[in-house]
């Protein structure tokens, strides 16, 4: 069973000619089939955790370990991490002018699966996944994320999640900027992938709204660059009622 183990992760970033520590010792284990929600106020370092796991060059790991099935993730390049089974659904997906969605998806699936998917089954696979996400077939011929609405970008991220079938999926504020309909469609997509039981999900969010659609097994409160409290789904209810104030003002954040 696939397991992602994050131990005492410290991460810095260079800003304004100074080195700033963002993550200050994150410990978390995500097992296949589990869904963990990471909730926290703005600026607590949630997105830094997501991008550090994916290997974004902006972030420097100063100490700690990240293992996926015992393999050292931090020693891998960005593409190796993805091929090892790590997926990051981005909060702000990047435009790639001149590269069509269909070309991008196929290139990506070929890289992840280690061989080009058979054309006939692939076309069906993509078409089916797009239909389930209520995406127009014409979408496949558009350039990656170019001129996409907020909702289209997020659906496109979840489309990739469905097609690439990672072991661990990190969803970075996938709910932000979505209206209720789009949130429902995107959540249903995530749930289909979760129902396979083959993915561990790390759901990073600022709001409890998405947790009505995607039920987490574990909820963690993230503040000041680390997890400050962990619990079951009931912790989300507490946050819904009380907000993050207790964590921000309580001196937990450095």
């Amino acid at each position: 069973m696939a397991t992602l183990e994050i131990r005492d992760l410290h991460v810095t970033v260079e800003a304004d000619n100074a080195t700033k520590e963002i993550l200050k010792g994150v410990d978390l284990t995500v097992k296949q089939g589990e869904t963990h929600a990471i909730m926290g106020p703005n600026g607590s370092g949630k997105s830094t955790l997501a991008y550090s796991l994916a290997g974004h060059p902006k972030y420097t790991i100063t100490s700690g370990t990240v293992l996926l099935d015992g393999e050292d993730v931090l020693a891998m390049s960005v593409d190796e991490r993805a091929r090892a089974g790590l997926f990051l659904a981005m909060q702000y997906p990047v435009e790639v002018p001149g590269v069509s969605v269909s070309n991008f998806l196929r290139t990506s699936a070929t890289a992840i699966r280690g061989e080009a998917p058979k054309l006939r089954t692939w076309v069906k696979e993509v078409k089916g996944a797009m239909e389930r996400l209520h995406m127009d077939p014409a979408f496949a011929e558009r350039n990656v994320n170019e001129g996409f609405s907020g909702g289209e970008k997020k659906r496109h991220e979840i489309l990739q999640l469905e097609l690439l079938k990672p072991k661990v999926a990190v969803l970075d504020e996938t709910d932000s900027g979505l209206d209720v309909d789009a949130l429902r469609i995107v959540s249903e997509g995530v749930n289909r992938v979760r129902e396979s039981g083959e993915v561990g999900t790390l759901l990073i969010t600022h709001y409890t709204r998405i947790l009505r659609y995607i039920k987490p097994d574990h909820v963690h409160v993230f503040a000041g660059g680390r997890i400050v409290e962990s619990g079951g789904p009931e912790l989300a209810d507490k946050l819904e009622n009380e907000g993050y104030e207790a964590y921000v003002k309580g001196g937990v954040s450095a």
């Binding site: 994916a54 290997g55 974004h56 060059p57 390049s77 960005v78 593409d79 991490r81 993805a82 091929r83 997926f87 990051l88 981005m90 997906p93 990047v94 435009e95 790639v96 002018p97 001149g98 590269v99 070309n103 991008f104 290139t107 990506s108 890289a111 992840i112 350039n143 990656v144 990739q160 690439l164």
Partner: protein
């Protein structure tokens, strides 16, 4: 990519030479509202067919300041002399097209425009015979006319005229290969309602030098599309220029260049909106890699006082793939009448976008493949404009080849 976009306003920036720019950067565009065209006056001599009317450039003139004169191999100072084995020109034309080789005194030469610098005038003063390709009126070609210009290692001066009669339609491919020192001008004369697409490919061997003017004279309601593709050569310096002979004319000027280590590739465009109700759209894109790769793009657009109803846009984008490359990009729009439909320009020079790379790699795509995807994507919209399948394929293969070389 940082981007400067402007639409015309009366708060004009005075025209003139921008200051020297650091490596990889771009100069900002200018919009001038002038009583008199500075596009014309900042040239060091008025246009002329006679090389003697131009002083030998010393390199500080506005039109020469980006060009390494010593690499022109004497084309600029009269020391380059035509050799017997200069270039071979072969014209392959479908039925209905008239192909002629004519002497210097043929009355059909020199109608589309006059040389604007000494090298173009040198070419006009020194060529022996000219090729004239005529597509008679109302003749619509289904296959392209192909003109192969192959360098045999010598020095050559050339002149070509492509003329389309009224309502004729044609695609012309001018393909430059081999090794040569060549100064040559090409004229495109479009009759009323004619449609001409020209693809000029500069796929020279590495020591070649190529300079010259492309002059288009666009008839009433005619459409001219030019796609300049520059890959090879030590130094390539071309002036694609457009004038209108009647209202309703349209010009689309596209260009792609891939400037490698040590190469100098310079494209100096001029669209003269001298006639009312004409359109122009300019889009040039270049990628650069390697030490001393130098791309120069000058985009001059002049909307004359009489050219009411003009609609024009020009754009230049550069993708700098490695350190050590330099881009000079100077859009310059001059507007002498406010009675226009639209006028604008944009110029942007950027590094390879690391966020695009990260996004693609985060989907398992190896770095090398991700870079290829991004660069192919960068050029894609212009490659699609070519419409000649074998040239499109060759171009894509060339881009791949260049990128392979950059990894090696």
């Amino acid at each position: 990519m940082a981007e400067a976009q402007n639409s015309p306003t009366l708060n004009s920036v005075p025209a003139g030479g921008p200051p020297p720019v650091p490596v990889g950067s771009t100069t900002a565009g200018q919009i001038a509202v002038a009583a008199e065209s500075t596009v014309a006056t900042r040239m060091s001599a008025p246009p002329s067919f006679d090389v003697a009317d131009f002083p030998v450039p010393h390199g500080r003139e506005e039109e020469w300041r980006f060009t390494p004169l010593e690499r022109l191999r004497g084309l600029h100072d009269g020391t380059a002399v035509a050799t017997g084995e200069g270039v071979k020109v072969a014209v392959e034309a479908p039925e209905g097209v008239i192909v002629e080789t004519v002497g210097r005194d043929d009355a059909r030469l020199g109608r589309a425009g006059t040389p604007v610098d000494r090298v173009a005038a040198q070419a006009y003063s020194a060529f022996g015979t000219a090729s004239v390709v005529t597509v008679p009126k109302e003749t619509v070609l289904t296959e392209p006319v192909r003109i192969a210009v192959h360098g045999e290692g010598g020095v050559a001066f050339g002149h070509q005229v492509i003329e389309l009669g009224a309502f004729a339609e044609a695609v012309v491919v001018i393909d430059h290969t081999g090794e040569a020192v060549l100064a040559a001008n090409v004229e495109f004369i479009l009759g009323d309602g004619a449609k001409l697409t020209v693809v000029s490919v500069q796929d020279w061997d590495e020591k070649a030098v190529h300079a010259g003017q492309h002059n288009a004279l666009i008839g009433r309601d005619a459409s001219f599309k030019s796609i300049i593709v520059t890959f090879g050569g030590d130094l390539v310096r071309l002036h694609p220029r457009v004038e209108y002979a009647g209202t309703g004319g349209e010009a689309e000027l596209y260009g792609l260049y891939f400037t490698d280590k040590g190469q100098h590739q310079e494209h100096r465009l001029f669209v003269d909106h001298n006639t009312p109700h004409c359109k122009s759209n300019v889009a040039y894109k270049g990628a650069l890699q390697g030490d001393d790769a130098h791309a120069v793009w000058i985009g001059d657009v002049l909307i004359e006082a009489k050219a009411e109803g003009t609609d024009t846009y020009e754009m230049n984008r550069n993708l700098v793939l490695t350190d050590g490359a330099r881009v000079d990009s100077v859009p310059n729009l001059e507007i002498e009448t406010g009675e226009i439909v639209g006028a604008g320009h944009a110029s942007a020079t950027g590094r390879f976008d690391d966020e695009q790379l990260f996004y693609l790699m985060a989907r398992g795509i190896p770095e090398h493949d991700a870079r290829r995807l991004v660069v192919r994507g960068f050029f894609a919209e212009l490659v699609q404009q070519i419409g000649v399948e074998d040239i499109e394929e060759r171009l894509i293969a060339k881009i791949e080849e260049e990128l392979e070389a950059s990894v090696a």
